[in-house]
């Protein structure tokens, strides 16, 4: 049992993970590019014009994947946080810190593209719809996580504090989502209902899925690049980083 564990933890050590991540990054960039080009090709050239929304709807090829990724990345972050607290591995905290900016970026993109979509469709940049409000709160949670980690100097303490916050956040997200939805049904005034989704053409769905895959691959590639930088920064006094930097210089 113990031997097996050690085997796994081998990859949790920055020294072994650093070169591995370096080898993986180009592949994920490549996949992101392929999926992205394919998704956008379908989205802009093949998918039919929507009968009700015209050409403006095509922003969903970015909007929907961004929303998905913003939620998914928070879950992954919470997973790394839990692993870090449970097994006290250095890499877990670094992964969580590396993912947070990408998650925040997607949450922001999702809100922004949502506003760009909303203006021509409903004539307003912002409605207090349950989904928009939840996405906004998710962005706040990301910013809180990043701010907390930035405010703590000791990286180990920053990792642990961030991990606790991420876990508290992930427990709260369903509660927040549910409460916002409840609030929304009570206050449903003249605003537009977003739940009535027009049946989607198969081509649109394919385009969206490919774009989502592209965003996913992009997130992995960027997170791996960021985690490599974090590793170098935090371990700059260790022998392996010194040897590595000497080799490059």
């Amino acid at each position: 049992m113990r031997n097996k564990l050690i085997n796994w933890f081998r990859y949790a050590s920055p020294q072994t993970f650093y070169p591995l991540a370096g080898r993986m990054i180009p592949w994920f960039w490549g996949l992101a590019a392929i999926f992205g080009v394919a998704g956008l090709f379908i989205g802009f050239l093949l998918a039919p014009t929507d009968a009700q929304q015209g050409e403006g709807y095509r922003i969903i090829f970015l909007h929907v994947p961004a929303s998905w990724m913003s939620m998914f990345i928070y879950l992954v972050m919470a997973f790394w946080a839990a692993t870090g607290l449970a097994f006290n591995t250095r890499l877990s905290g670094m992964m969580a810190s590396a993912l947070a900016p990408t998650g925040a970026l997607f949450a922001f993109l999702s809100l922004w593209t949502g506003a760009l979509w909303g203006k021509p469709m409903w004539g307003t940049w912002w409605v207090w719809d349950a989904r928009l409000t939840s996405e906004l709160i998710l962005l706040f949670l990301y910013i809180g996580f990043i701010a907390l980690q930035a405010a703590i100097d000791d990286p180990r303490r920053a990792d642990k504090a961030g991990a606790i916050l991420a876990l508290v956040g992930v427990v709260n997200i369903p509660i927040i989502y549910f409460s916002v939805q409840w609030w929304n049904t009570l206050h449903q005034g003249a605003s537009v209902s977003l739940t009535r989704a027009p049946s989607m053409a198969a081509m649109m769905l394919w385009g969206m899925l490919l774009c989502a895959l592209a965003c996913w691959m992009y997130s992995i590639a960027v997170a791996l690049m960021r985690v490599r930088v974090i590793m170098l920064e935090r371990e700059r006094h260790t022998d392996w980083v010194r040897a590595l930097l000497r080799g490059k210089a």
Binding site: D153, D154, R236, H237
Partner: protein
């Protein structure tokens, strides 16, 4: 009883000490020495389980303290750099509330006796913020008078104390050692402890690091 093996302490990016090992039995005291910043306080906090060691292990009665948890803490009395007394409360209220929080109720007579011993009788109803630095330290040390837990970890207990109070604390430590207790303390002063077996460990000194006690 208390056993430390190959402790390493990393603060920020600096390694303060590495390879610190010692073994302490009942009736023995370990006096930690070393220049400022050599990691004395960090070592004490490790021994209490407040700070995890970068590597190495601390065992109490043969079992790692992280595993023992509350069981270990119920045998531990820690007196830190800060006095852990509330400025708004009087010395008497401080000693009583500390005892209540430790779930070892102390009656008022015993508390007054402790204050008398440390020379604070007559000040027991004065809020601690009006006391001098040395008197605050005495108020904090009054805890030790009735302290029965086996392992005392004291950070600079003699700081800010006058001669008489220093000897008094040394006497309390000696009595504790005679009862078979263990003491780990840091100090810059050579203070003779009346009883018990005293060992010394100097941090930040490469020879001492390797020396096994």
């Amino acid at each position: 009883m208390l056993e430390a093996s190959n402790l390493e302490c990393v603060r920020g990016e600096r390694c303060l000490f590495a390879g610190v090992s010692f073994r302490l039995e009942g009736g023995e005291m370990l006096a930690l020495q070393g220049r400022n910043g050599s990691g004395k306080t960090s070592l004490l906090r490790m021994l209490c389980g407040l700070t995890p060691a970068a590597s190495g292990e601390i065992r109490w009665c043969g079992r790692p303290i992280a595993q023992l948890g509350d069981e270990f803490r119920s045998e531990l009395c820690f007196l830190g750099h800060q006095n852990a007394i509330k400025e708004e409360l009087t010395p008497l209220e401080n000693i009583l509330s500390t005892a209540r929080l430790a779930q070892e109720p102390l009656d008022e007579d015993a508390a007054l006796a402790a204050l008398e011993l440390v020379g604070l009788l007559g000040r027991e109803d004065l809020a601690c913020r009006y006391l001098s630095q040395g008197q605050k330290r005495r108020a904090a040390l009054a805890r030790l008078v009735h302290e029965k837990r086996a392992l005392w970890v004291l950070d600079e207990p003699y700081v800010a104390l006058d001669r008489a109070a220093t000897e008094l604390v040394a006497g309390l430590v000696g009595a504790h050692l005679q009862r078979g207790g263990l003491v780990v303390l840091t100090t810059h002063q050579a203070v003779a402890v009346p009883a018990g077996n005293v060992r010394e460990l100097t941090l930040g000194d490469d020879v001492a690091l390797q020396q096994r006690l």
